[in-house]
Amino acid sequence: MFTRQELSLLKELTLREFKLRYQNSVLGFFWSLLKPFALFLTFYVVLQYFLKINVPDYAFFLLIGILLWNFFSESTTAGLHGLVSKGSIIKKTYFKYELCIISACLTAFISFLLNFFVFLVLLVILKGVPGLSLFYLPLPFLEIFFISLGLSFFLAPLFTQYRDISHVWEILLQIGFWVTPIAYPLDFVPKQYLSYYLLNPLANIVVHVRESILQAQIPSFFSGFASFILAIAISLLGYLFYNIKKKSIAERL
């Protein structure tokens, strides 16, 4: 799909983006950590102490959800702006513009992995070494990455056409936070709505990640396979949509 040259360009774009995010302040990495952790603290205090939510290991439970959600919202937002923010080069040179979208998502993904590593250290210190099921994690991580990428492939070309897509997406992200089991477990969802609820592709992924970290369980073959297929489908559809739209991108910028 991409030549070696293009892959190296992708690497360059991603590293440049990543470096820029952190070079401006020594505390760059700290800031990228702070955002999900501050969100986590607020929710933890409110839900655990005010609303007295009853979920075992709620701190880790919530933190996993928030880290995943934070990645999803950051990568899709960056992906949405991926083409427009690079408008000045897209208008002047021809290259595979999708590299801009991919690099935006990759940058967010690297941040996420770093955040997750900090989370793992905390987990080991506070709770002990998790089980072998941890090795299952790359799969749901890749799934959520490809879902973000697929959605970005939809959003980025649309954003070149309709500049208010960014607001629409912000609203959808706000709603999405509450229709994904981030702050609460799946059992809290009324039984009659559960099958609709699970149409949200992120729901299963969040559950899978939690199970493999906190319960040393890997998902059933069916559930794992379903979310895998769903992720592939979303990214392929997104890429297809992008390919239909790509001819007119430079004209719209």
Binding site: R4, Q5, S8, L9, E12, L13, R16, K19, L20, Q23, N24, S88, I89, I90, K91, K92, T93, Y94, F95, Q161, Y162, R163, D164, I165, V168, K247, S248, A250, E251, R252
Partner: protein, 422 residues
Amino acid sequence: MIEVKNLWKSFRIFHEREPSTLFHGLKGVFNPRRYEEFWALQDINFHVSEGEFFGVIGENGSGKTTLLKLIAKVLNPTKGSIVARGRVVPFLELGLGFHDESSGRENAMLYGQLLGISKSEMKKNMDELIEFSGLEQFIDAKLNTYSSGMRVRLAFSTAIQTNPDILLVDEVLAVGDLKFQRKCFDVFREFKDNKRTILFVSHDLNAVKKFCDRAMLLQQGKQVALDEPGYIIDKYFYSTFQEPSFSEGREALKGKSVDFRKKNNMPDFERIEDLKKIVGVRWGTREIEITQVDLFDKFGKKTSVFATGDSLKIRIHYKKHKDVKNPVFGIGVFYKDGGHCFGTNTEVENYSMPGLRERGFIECVIPRLSMWGGDFYLNVMVHDAHHYHYDWHNKMYMFKVIKANNHEQGLYNLECKWKLSK
């Protein structure tokens, strides 16, 4: 090699100025917005072979940049085809708008890779690139500290380091300083020797003339002419510049008590000296009347726009009302912003005037307009040997001279030849 065949490109110009939002997009499904097809390029056909230096000239908005963008694949043609064999490196619009927060070096690395050069090769060429750009001191400074000229220098240095088969250049020279321009021209020469193709869009007609093997003139998206650059530039000149307007002359006359253009009288001497300062007045006793004055360019076309070095023919039509002895026809050329430029007449030039017919014309040919550009007033007159004015058209005609060269100094292009003693 570039082959462009029946190339058409249109953009949609929407009538209602609606913002590009989702809401309006959805509304548009049910109530399609009216738009006009704007043809930025219409039926363009040309072929550029290897090693050729091809110029594209035309006014702003004539489609030059669109053409380059199409060849660079940034835009897609509406109709027709473009084949470009080899690696095309575009250098479009001033510089690269890149990561302002990154250093010049990092930007050059990234830009090079965007243009399709591997990282290792870029690293290898980096020193040469920096030297060429002349930015040694600033290369590790952030891009946002660069001036626009520096940005262009960096971007252009990167573009040429990528060793393109086809280089598309859009107005680089406009921003670089003289030293850098000279370097660019050296590179162009080298490119030419190495059988590389360059497509060159510029308003620097001198550069086009100097470097291009052939050139194309675009006008409102249409390919008007394609030929050797000298011819194309001529065409461009004569098609671009508007005839000078006379409105000021009319303004100057307003409020003057006597309109001497209507009366056939001969004002007294002091009065004449005053009148000569006024644009667009006429006086004289009309024993011989100047009925019409036409200016012709070197193509024999009636015009009032000329290029430096071209010829100018003034044709003065007259009508004889009364037999007179030894009439003298004369002309005078004045700078519009003041200053007598040149004047002569048939007496000074020792032209022995045969007897005038009832009606006819006399021509004065200036084989070489040696002034560098400017707007000029023309006096045309006929008088007798003692300066008794039959018909004096004071600054009633205008013409424009366009400079064909950017290296002019002073007012005139005097002919000269150099010779070294042996």
